[in-house]
């Protein structure tokens, strides 16, 4: 009995064992996560603030920022509406093939970004299925903004649905049924009961969706054609500047993206801390 009581009290040997584990974990996190992040900002400011702001004020840099915002502004709402519709169908009704639908929603997460771009080239590119038809009607999807949007929509498709489905599953449909028996129309029920109940999870999903939409590289790289000032999003612009050895320029644009990542992490952490219970039904996450 005495032995058990004693063993609960941290002995000296155990405390130092803890310290070793903590030290290892912290060292790894600093070397692997903090250092790359710091490198972005240090490299960006290597030649001073003047060079940094000048690099950002460059017209091509500004164009890439505008294009990134545009692509995200189109693809995020599209996937938000899709996420709501898919979650409603998946969690409020039983139908055959539901498991398949769930698997297809997750599919883009397991496809390599380059393949995600490739499939649209094969569909809409000059030699693609619809290539000749599009050329005839003088519509350009690939190597143009619509292609960037399509590839971005593909890679960010699961984010919102993935947040909403487990939460709405856990919440069940009783509140919506109550709203119906009290006389609410479909849209009244949706806007007054469903949406307020999932708003934080929705915001969470939109946040992650947006971060990925603005930061996607591989998929948009394949469909972009890299036309400066026209089809270069920020990550693509980073690549071009880097390959031209304009390190300050590359890291300056990269620093904006890194800031976006930090803001995303901060808001995400805040949401988890403040509304953890309302997000609690989330599945173990990836991406």
């Amino acid at each position: 009995m005495n032995e058990i009581v004693l063993s609960r009290r941290p002995s000296k040997a155990r405390v130092s064992w803890h310290a070793v584990l903590i030290a290892f974990a912290v060292t790894f996190l600093v070397l692997f996560l903090v250092l790359p992040l710091a490198a972005v900002f240090v490299e960006a400011l290597r030649k001073g603030v003047g060079a940094y702001t000048a690099a950002l004020a460059h017209s091509e840099a500004l164009a890439s920022i505008r294009l990134t915002l545009l692509v995200a502004a189109i693809s995020v709402p599209l996937n938000t509406v899709f996420g709501l519709a898919a979650a409603w169908a998946m969690t409020r009704f039983d139908f055959r093939g539901k498991a398949w639908l769930g698997a297809f929603i997750d599919l883009p997460f397991s496809v390599s970004p380059v393949v995600s771009g490739l499939i649209y080239v094969l569909l809409f590119g000059a030699q693609g299925w619809f290539g000749p038809w599009l050329a005839e009607h003088d519509i350009k999807l690939i190597f143009a903004v619509p292609g960037l949007v399509l590839a971005t929509v593909f890679v960010t498709l699961p984010f919102v649905a993935r947040e909403l489905i487990p939460l709405m599953q856990a919440q069940g449909s009783e509140e919506e049924e109550a709203a119906r028996t009290l006389g609410a129309t479909g849209w009244q029920m949706f806007f007054r009961v469903t949406l307020p109940n999932v708003k934080w999870a929705l915001l969470y999903g939109v946040l992650l969706c947006n971060a990925r939409a603005m930061g996607e590289f591989g998929a948009v790289s394949v469909v972009s054609g890299h036309i400066r000032g026209l089809t270069n999003t920020m990550p693509l612009h980073v690549e071009i500047l880097y390959n031209e050895y304009d390190y300050v320029g590359a890291f300056a644009v990269a620093s904006i993206l890194a800031l976006l990542a930090l803001v995303t992490l901060a808001v995400k952490t805040f949401l988890e801390w403040r509304y953890g219970a309302e997000l609690a039904a989330r599945a173990p996450r990836g991406h």
Binding site: R180, G183, P196
Partner: protein, 379 residues
């Protein structure tokens, strides 16, 4: 408002929730749907609310088809088992919801809504709590908010799904008496679902006992308790002794006793089961000719009543008897005493010779005739 349910059937995958259920409910009635889980009672309630639909059969309200009316337009007040309060709305907003979602033409003004909500809050004894959120209320309070919310749309039919299921024992008793009074004040037709027989017997005007998707018996609380129509009702409601019997020459034989009673017509020779409530077993320490010879087992004093185990060798059974606590004290009952046991009356069911199951249609109540002297001593 009269409800007429006829020949309702409902199947889920491989489970028969409702199997040819017919029932009519009179205006102002307080009806309990009583049964174990899986008996179909909740499915029936959800069909009345418009949240489920039968595969066959129909439901009429005052002669008009109710099934073609959507849940939204039915105007039926439903209180969910776990209340289903809108968690992001205050108590006030929850109650006002049904009024606020009305089409503009039928929607009361802001002031009218506020007035009606306040009135309802008072009615359910929650005045002053309108600004709280559901999470800040106790279980009993939430239940009353759910009720007020359902009443706000002025339904003529109120449905409650296990209304007291999630409450602790004390709140449960207080709240259900209060609900009974409310029902009488409002003059609504009320249907509630419960698996708690005490709740059903105490509250309802009429109890509908359900089992495996079928109605076993419909009757007043007194009827279903005193004159159960089927073996299931006997075993589900109250406590009961089950004694194997034989039928021979229109008489009932149980163990070494042949009960002297009016001959049973229509029940041929064969076997069956006799049901006797504990309080209908009389016993005396005097040795009598008629009645089983038995020994008292443990005597459980439980306040106002006492439960007595009676070991009957002739039956190979231990029977339960029940009598007043005072009386048990006065008679000085203790384990090991020798007694003679006589059932005051028995309800017997004969086995169906084909299926081997008890046949509810071959049910008889047997009033044995004991010698007058014996009866007198039993008192």
């Amino acid at each position: 408002m009269t409800l007429e349910l006829s020949h309702l059937h409902r199947r889920f995958a491989d489970f028969r929730a409702l199997d040819d259920v017919s029932l009519s409910i009179a205006p102002g009635e307080f009806v309990a749907l009583l049964g174990p889980s899986g008996s179909g009672k909740t499915t029936l309630l959800r069909i009345l609310a418009g949240l489920d639909f039968p595969d066959a059969g129909d439901v009429r309200r005052d002669g008009r088809d109710l099934l073609s009316v959507s849940a939204r337009e039915r105007g039926v007040g439903l209180v969910f088992q776990h209340y289903a309060l809108f968690r992001h709305m205050t108590v006030f907003e929850n109650i006002a919801f049904g009024l606020r979602v009305r089409p503009r033409a039928k929607r009361p003004s802001r002031a009218e809504i506020a007035e009606r909500v306040e009135k309802l809050l008072k009615r359910v004894q929650l005045d002053g709590l309108g600004n709280r959120y559901p999470a800040q209320l106790s279980g009993g309070q939430r239940q009353r908010v759910a009720l007020a919310r359902a009443l706000a749309i002025e339904p003529d039919l109120l449905l409650l799904d296990e209304p007291f299921g999630a409450l602790d024992a004390q709140v449960r008793v207080t709240l259900r008496r209060w609900l009974r009074h409310l029902h009488e004040e409002l003059g609504l037709t009320t249907v509630f679902v419960t698996h708690d027989q005490e709740e059903a017997l105490e509250l309802a005007d009429r109890v509908v006992v359900m089992n495996q998707g079928r109605i076993e018996q419909v009757g007043t609380p007194d009827e279903v308790y005193q004159q159960p129509g089927t073996p299931f009702v006997f075993e589900f409601i109250g406590r009961v002794n089950k004694i194997p019997v034989k039928f021979a020459g229109g008489r009932v034989q149980a163990g070494d006793q042949r009960f002297d009673a009016d001959p049973l017509d229509g029940i041929g020779d064969g076997s069956g089961v006799a049901y006797v409530r504990p309080e209908h077993l009389a016993f005396t320490t005097t040795s009598l000719d008629s009645g089983w010879k038995a020994t008292l087992g443990h005597v459980f004093f439980a306040g106002s009543v006492a439960h007595v185990e009676i070991e009957v060798p002739a039956l190979g059974l231990t029977l339960d008897a029940e009598l007043g606590g005072d009386e048990a004290q006065r008679r000085g009952l203790a384990a090991g005493m020798s007694v003679t046991v006589q059932p005051r009356h028995l309800t017997v069911f004969a086995h169906d010779p084909k299926t081997g199951q008890l046949d509810p249609s071959r049910r008889r109540v047997v009033h044995p005739r004991y010698g007058q002297a014996a009866l007198a001593r039993m008192r």
